[in-house]
Point group: C4
């Protein structure tokens, strides 16, 4: 079977992953309305294509927080990559480096930050953080990441509690015994999601700021009001995200929320978006609406499920080709 577009990787992953893993990656909260809206909202946006422009040479590189990447698509933080491919996040890190783009490693990785760093030295990586009730543990994680050369800290703001994903409840989802949330193992004796701190507020950004010199990127913003608060609290960038539709169902699609966030921010910080990117033209739409870069979540997992780091590179390369082509055709 030829892998022509991202849906081909999705079909492959659905066919070959264990049901419990597929369901976990595919899950959306409640009725999955927002998960699906993320995709449908892109389809509702129409180009106004312009003709007869010289598109023989196109430069699709960009910079995010000062680091150059080969094209404006990075890897969003998602958990448990070993569910998709034995080498897990190590493969993800290698593929991202090979394609010269940014990989945001999740707190809920099945490899340690050290393993990830060692797998692809020199790659551009950010670290995604949840704030735990045990602040010392979070502090340790931040400092480990900084010491290992991670170049940004992504604070997830939309998970005070975990959303209700019905299939995971039905499946009684849990990691297989041979996989571990290794980053937390070292820091906690017991690690459960319920250890996440639901009392965190904007002021905790200052606490985080005090721990690290890394830029802070806040992930999960969907309104102009929160975008303004994020800027005021001194973050360096915003990822417009609804956690792939896995948290609050029936909020806005991310591409619909993007415009209002971009407008509120007025260029003071960089704005990215994740959720629903399935084609190169989606990337172009996000950029046209003001995003500096997009991040892909599930498609990266499908790539891993297909052929590990090679599969993920295939996914990125297809997006890159499609993005370049849609730029040319849109003029």
């Amino acid at each position: 079977m030829a892998m022509v577009c991202l849906s081909d990787f999705e079909a492959y992953a659905k066919k070959y992953l264990p049901k419990i893993a597929w369901d976990y990656f595919a899950a959306g909260a409640d009725d999955c309305t927002t998960r699906d809206e993320n995709i449908l909202a892109y389809k509702r946006i129409r180009f106004r294509p312009r003709m007869l422009r010289d598109v023989s040479v196109m430069d699709i590189r960009t910079k995010i927080l000062g680091s150059e990447i080969s094209f404006p698509v990075g890897i969003a933080p998602t958990g448990f990559h070993q569910l998709a491919w034995p080498d897990g996040e190590k493969s993800t890190a290698r593929a991202a480096r090979a394609m010269n783009t940014c990989y945001i490693a999740s707190t809920y990785s099945t490899c340690t930050l050290e393993e990830i760093s060692a797998a692809a030295p020199g790659g551009l990586r950010w670290f995604q953080l949840y704030i735990h009730r045990n602040r010392a543990a979070s502090q340790q994680l931040v400092q480990r990441a900084e010491a290992l050369g991670f170049q940004g800290l992504v604070l997830t703001a939309d998970l005070p509690y975990t959303g209700k994903r019905r299939d995971d409840v039905r499946n009684g989802f849990r990691l297989p015994p041979h996989m571990k949330v290794k980053n937390l193992e070292r820091a906690f004796e017991v690690c459960k999601m319920s250890l996440l701190d639901p009392s965190i507020t904007w002021n905790d950004i200052y606490w985080l700021r005090s721990l690290t010199h890394l830029p802070i990127i806040i992930k999960g913003i969907l309104t102009r009001e929160d975008a303004e608060l994020a800027v005021r609290h001194g973050v360096q960038a915003i990822i417009v995200s609804n956690h792939g539709g896995r948290q609050l169902d029936e909020g806005p699609a991310t591409i619909d929320a993007l415009a209002e966030v971009v407008e509120a921010v007025r260029g003071r910080v960089e704005v990215y978006v994740d959720g629903g990117i399935r084609k190169g033209s989606d990337v172009l739409k996000a950029l046209a609406l003001g995003a500096k870069c997009v991040f892909i979540g599930r498609p990266a997992l499908w790539g891993l499920a297909y052929k590990g780091e090679e599969g993920l590179q295939d996914v990125l390369r297809i997006l890159q080709d499609e993005f370049r082509l849609s730029m040319a055709l849109a003029g």
Copy 2:
């Protein structure tokens, strides 16, 4: 099978109830457009989720007409609970008390008001009333309810005649011989729905007022004009309702009508809504649009059909958990 969300109870009830009972509970008038719109209208409403608010402690209790309930979801009046579970309304009353919420018992109960009261002493209950051609009979019912400690009187305004529910006509729906509309048995020799009085008007509120000290809640209001009339005629609360889409087809969804009623009422009386609540986030939406509380109809029957009072408690507990989670995630 895990019971994860309300649809699971619906599927169970559809599978295990006798067809004639399922059809009766599920029925909508004519093409069932309004019945289905009640649900679809919720899906069209989008949240604007806010982040980084302290959601570690949330108080979801509320008060309706001065009585505290554990969360803003009560049991709407529906008829013939023995069709769903042998103990009928006695189970409903027990489940409502166990969950510390309000149960509106229907005139068309298959248990007497006395049996309902005895099944769950001390529970918060209101009594739903139709006005019959024989006013004395209605008067007796009101006075029985008041004497038994029911704390509110819900006057249904949208049933001068019964809506046309095609499946019921096809099935020749009637109660099985061993079930009776027991409340009316005592008062009438003959009891048929056609004894309902289609000539009642707003002035009959005054008549009702003269019979009882209980607060009067009017159920079935869908327009600002009628909301204003209700307030002027001295009711204590309004339930925005279209009778689950069982009366006039192709009127508005209740959640769509809610905003106009709330606006017209301007806080002078409490406003509730029923119809189409299937998830905790629906409750949150109704509250955000001005309802003080919502009431569930069919989901309560599905809960009964599943496991009697236990099943109904399951339904209420799921709604409660989902409501609390969606509050946290919406900030």
Copy 3:
């Protein structure tokens, strides 16, 4: 099988009529968009139901051009009733008289006007006319109708040529040999639809006026401009119609066109509507939007196909009951 609503008659007719007859009655032009829109447009219109009005006594009689009918639903002109039931238009006439409503007999009847008159003496009937190239023939028809006691003349304005109904072309539709377009037989040696005159204009209303004392009702108006022209040319009433979606595809649904016609007419002539009426509440919507009466086409044929005049009476009675109920429930 219980006949509960008009769709039941439709299903029956589809099952038991010869395919060629069913296809002919069901046919719409081209993609059948307008045919289906006629129905869908009703579903998009929402009631604002009012409560607690005295609906114990309702008078649903009305007058059209001075003649009282038992409720505001008449029989629209459709051709070839013998395709639905052996007695053809004679049955239609009897059913209309039995229900005390108006029947518009088509030029393309399979019974003569004399047979129709004799079948139900004293019934309220109008005659539907196409203008033929041979004006003398049309004149004869008008004068026969007037002499037989028909009380109105309905001029069809939307058929300069016959619309393209694909199934009829595929089926090679033609009347079975034992049926005839009897009204034209007497007047013409050769009768084909192509004898209709595509050159007729508004001035031909004056010619028609000169032939008869009967009121002239124009059928097929869909715009305010044509409504104004109709009034200026002295017609007594307008039927908003798109010929059941059988002529120009992708014009407006009749219920959508009704409001603009009513507004243009400003009460100077009566306005009726046909197309898409399937429930009593559709009748109520049409009246609320300004129609004095509605006419049913296909549902009448389904009734005939079910049981001749009895079946058509069933259809009318169901509509009447539903109309009365929806009036009561809408307040």
Copy 4:
């Protein structure tokens, strides 16, 4: 099977063409959204039909760039007609001449311009041009076309690179060995699409102008901005086109873009449209929105696939009859 409407030809072609050829003709870019929108957008446009106008005589002839055609439907440029019928573009040319309309021959024809000319001497033909990196080759083609009596030069502006048509990639689409892109064979040793020049700009119109006395028609314009540029650069006509949805997906439907182009042009040049024409009433809609003429792409290929030049004439004749009928019925 009766061939009643264009969909019948589509069904035939889908059934009888080799899959690789059908897929090639049917292909749209990416998700085929724009391809399908071209059709759906016509369905959203509604007529306002007028009655009682004299439609006994209708003249449906028109002139495009001074040449009379029998009705306002021409043949859009599409490649590889031998995939549909052995005689390829020769049959197309004969059918167009027989129906007295205009045929735009594609650069990617499987017959030479000379063969096409010889097949139907005297027919009205335009030549469609891509500009190649090798300008001399393009120049030769232009001059050959002019010498052969082609009367217009259609410059395709929307193909700096070929769109991504997934099925073609999956099928590994290429011409069968016995077919050749004959026009280019003579001029190039090597011919690949990648020889198209993606650096062309509006200024190249001047270069083209310098090569020929033929009128220049620019194809692929979708915005008012580009329409204005086209007029300023001296083209004689514009074809509003999105290449049948084969280039940039999720741009506008052509019929939706037409109005804005017509408005921008203000009559200074003729405007045509292609894409999505499936019925005679679509032609009428395009003309009502300001197009002087429409062009059909896939339907012409279906006609060829059915019966070569006869089949294409059938397609054109059906469109002509439907167009005339819809004009009459719309008044």
